[in-house]
Symmetry: none
């Protein structure tokens, strides 16, 4: 199972190619021929993962007893909207401009590891998003020490 950690910012070149960070390619494994990318449902970003992970997700979802409308929404947004993009020989991909334009990616891409998946952002939008999230966390009085306390069973597991 691929685990994506840390964040990287890489350039998009004149041919529309961008290097997938070496540690992400390592996480994907030597057999990986590419990645899967689709619009994020929550953010102005793309979500990415390994091909195998999307297939596993698909199988898992079929076993759930989801309402048909919910299943149909997932089918349309994630599976219908996903694009499989192959690596070139140097570990680069060319992302469809329909996806990158939709989320404001122009000349650089921020790869944000989210363990099982990763996100792709325009770096400026990511910075704004992170500052907003930090402000919201502070407003909710979330701190690292409280997170650790909650994880340890203190605070009745609440935050």
């Amino acid at each position: 199972m691929a685990v994506f950690l840390s964040s990287f910012v890489n350039k998009i070149d004149k041919k529309g190619r961008v290097s997938v960070p070496a540690s992400f390619r390592a996480a994907l494994g030597q057999d990986a021929t590419g990645i899967v990318v689709f619009r994020s449902l929550q953010y102005e970003a793309l979500d990415g993962c390994s091909i195998a992970h999307l297939e596993l997700l698909s199988e898992s979802l079929e076993k759930l007893d989801l309402p048909p409308e919910t299943f149909e929404l997932i089918e349309t947004t994630i599976f219908g909207g996903s694009v499989q993009v192959p690596f070139d020989g140097e570990g680069r991909v060319v992302l469809p401009s329909s996806l990158t334009e939709a989320v404001g990616i122009t000349s650089e891409i921020a790869f944000v590891g989210r363990r099982k998946t990763f996100q792709l952002w325009d770096p400026a939008k990511l910075a704004t998003h992170e500052e907003t999230a930090r402000g919201q966390a502070r407003a909710k009085d979330i701190s690292l020490s409280k997170i650790i306390a909650a994880a340890s069973g203190k605070l009745d597991g609440r935050l």
Copy 2:
């Protein structure tokens, strides 16, 4: 479980390397290949911990019934913003300049042990922060003798 105590100030060299204090590396254990670093939510500093601790935290939080927005804020700020940095052969790390610049770290780093985690500060900002904290502790009438009393069950565990 790593326990980080004391504070140290080390230099950043021309190649951007800084020695992780030997006692912190000892706390991390011989198997440790690096550390994890992310922006502090509360302070103009970075938070750091062992890779294992962050993974444990992640697993623990998934088991809690946190409100989805709270979970997502934590996911974005701490997990999404964390960077795994490896040790070199001499116990040094190279911190991403995106993190060090965000908190004003330039030529020296103060490592501040916080038992399960540690903080990374620009030394001048740390000095200011500590003075502020001392003033606040005095205003709350906190003293070492009262801390010891509270820890011993006196004062009904209150401070």
